[in-house]
């Protein structure tokens, strides 16, 4: 299936693919639903729902606990899911750790590093041990999930949190990064694709710069893995996080990626059953990754469903998904940037961006914009999208965001833009 711009704009691909998504076939306030909030959470195809159900109907049992035939079946399904996800992002299976979502995955690293600073983890954990004089670097555009855990880590260890400043449009460059990352930098965390501006970060350049200074790098890949081919080994990052529910998969499961030798050295922040080798009354030693991090009963049917989502995306081809979304991104920019009285935040027209558009309508609060669209069957996200510092930097409190995915059609983007153009008139602003 080749997707050029024309096909997408004609809505050919989505028309056939949409049959896989029962959710999309409903009305919202008397209009056909235009679901433009996949950046917050994506809808799931029948295949993913069926895979989870089939697992529960035929293969559900405890995983890695006991020795029965049934445990063999469930454990195999669980570990095969890990292999499938690993292949999808250019990782080895033991570099894939299940978390409850991306937020949890980021916290696993930040909390593990706090443990290292507290002296846990022995000599291997030295690389994670921060203290006064050390610097953690993030960007001003981070999602709160990739900001607050690092604020806390800095507070616990005495390290300093610094940030790469963003420009007036919310973007930043490798030069901006180079003005902050230096010899004191020990850890750098940033989003691959911004969930507010759609800006694509210069990952390999930042990795090169950070590694030159001996710093580790963690990538928040929530808005990239679902939308573009992503190979963590090729990008060279040390850690990464993403969530299943943004990539056609279930809620309740996310992924922490880490280079194997680093994961094996990172202290497990949560401990308990299934993570250990030997336990005495005084202490415990831990298994290598991933088991050392997977304390307690895991989201097994969710892992199986996530693997099915990955197979679904693989069958479409991530290059095709990316091409489809690139066309939609261009259309979004084209359509929204020509509406008088609407400010599109993010990279200027003509620069690459993900298929999402956050807009401000001066004089009309984002809540009211969203409500107006909602009444016409168009579902968008309003608010600060968990990025208050970025909104403050943009001089805004809240924006209205439309975000697209594999099933989004050009028609839906046009409906969004057409409705957006009527907002100021309805609220009597700017006449």
């Amino acid at each position: 299936m080749t997707l050029d711009r024309t096909t997408v704009v004609d809505g050919l691909l989505p028309a056939e693919l949409r049959r896989d998504f029962p959710y999309l076939d409903q009305e919202l306030n008397g209009h056909p639903l235009a679901y433009l909030d996949s950046g917050a959470t994506a809808q799931r195809p029948v295949a993913v729902l069926d895979a989870e159900r089939a697992y529960l109907e035929h293969a559900n049992a405890a995983v890695h606990r006991g020795a029965s035939t049934l445990v063999g079946t469930s454990t195999t399904a669980f570990e095969e899911a890990r292999e499938t996800v690993a292949r999808f992002v250019g990782a080895r299976p033991r570099e894939i750790v299940w978390a409850s979502n991306a937020t949890d995955a980021i916290n696993m690293v930040a909390l593990g590093m706090a443990d290292a600073a507290a002296g846990l983890g022995g000599a291997e954990a030295e690389i994670f041990r921060l203290g006064p004089g050390d610097e953690i670097v993030v960007t001003e555009a981070e999602h709160h999930a990739d900001l607050i855990p690092w604020q806390r880590l800095a507070a616990k260890t005495g390290a300093t949190l610094r940030w790469i400043p963003v420009n007036d449009d919310g973007t930043w460059s490798i030069d901006d990064a180079a003005s902050v990352i230096g010899p004191r930098t020990r850890f750098v965390a940033f989003g691959h694709v911004s969930n507010v501006t759609g800006y694509l970060a210069p990952v390999t350049e930042v990795v090169e710069l950070a590694h030159r200074h001996g710093a580790l790098v963690m990538l928040d890949a929530c808005q990239s893995v679902p939308h573009r081919p992503t190979d963590f080994a090729e990008l060279g990052v040390d850690f990464a996080a993403f969530s299943a529910h943004k990539m056609l998969g279930p809620t309740g499961i996310g992924v922490l990626y880490g280079r194997a030798h680093l994961l094996d050295a990172l202290p497990p922040a949560r401990t308990g059953g299934s993570t250990i080798t030997t336990v005495t009354m005084e202490s415990a030693s831990f298994l290598p990754s991933p088991q050392r991090f997977e304390a307690g009963t895991q989201p097994v049917s969710q892992a199986v469903a996530l693997a099915e989502a990955v197979r679904y995306l693989d069958a479409l081809g991530m290059q095709n998904v990316h091409a489809h979304e690139t066309a939609l991104a261009e259309l979004l920019v084209e359509e929204t940037s020509r509406i008088a009285g609407v400010r599109l935040v993010g990279p200027p027209p003509g620069s690459p961006r993900a298929a999402l558009a956050s807009v401000d309508v001066p004089g009309v609060h984002a809540h009211d914009v969203g409500q107006f669209l909602d009444a016409q069957g168009i579902a968008v996200r309003v608010g600060h999208h968990c990025a208050q510092p970025l909104h403050r930097r943009l001089g805004l409190r809240a924006t209205t965001r439309a975000s697209a995915y594999v099933y989004t059609t050009a028609d839906e983007v046009r409906r969004f833009a057409a409705a957006l153009a009527e907002v100021r008139g309805f609220f009597g602003v700017g006449a």
Partner: protein, 155 residues
């Protein structure tokens, strides 16, 4: 779009533009800041009591938010300025009951006057907090003022 005009009644849109009471109050007996963390809407409400301490002599607020929250603050100002504290407490209770109704029943026009325009908002669960923002802030001001809290010092 008939549904939407139930939410954004003319009176609400009108109040959102008029913003009665917008402006920091001089010499308040009590002030209270209220924030809706999901959307960042916020309001700082201030009241000054009359000499008897039983009625609101003046009310003033500063805030930033959606049309519903700003219109609600404006409508509240119109009702509460000059009113007895007991009456204002009754108004707040009545408004809260209406906002919890999910659009059911009739709003109490005798009590709430123009503020019954917000009855339609109660159907939109995600917007109820917007409408309540100013009222919750005023409630806190009254509680502070009648507890005899010392006047906040002027900056």
């Amino acid at each position: 779009m008939s549904d939407l005009s139930g939410l954004y009644q003319e009176l609400i849109l009108d109040h959102s533009r008029r913003r009665l009471g917008d402006g920091e109050l001089d010499d308040p007996h009590a002030t209270h800041h209220e924030l809706n963390p999901t959307c960042g809407d916020e309001i700082t409400m201030g009241i000054r009591l009359d000499a008897s301490g039983t009625a609101i002599e003046a009310i003033g607020w500063t805030g930033d938010g959606c049309s519903i929250s700003m219109a609600s603050a404006s409508a509240l100002t119109e009702l509460a300025a000059g009113a007895d504290l007991d009456r204002v407490r009754e108004l707040i209770d009545g408004f809260r009951t209406m906002m919890r109704s999910q659009g059911a029943g009739e709003a109490d026009e005798d009590l709430l006057g123009d503020a019954i325009a917000f009855h339609g908002v109660s159907k939109y669960v995600m917007r109820v907090k917007c409408a309540m923002l100013a009222w919750v802030a005023l409630e806190a001001c009254i509680a502070a003022a009648s507890a005899g809290a010392p006047r906040p010092s002027q900056p």
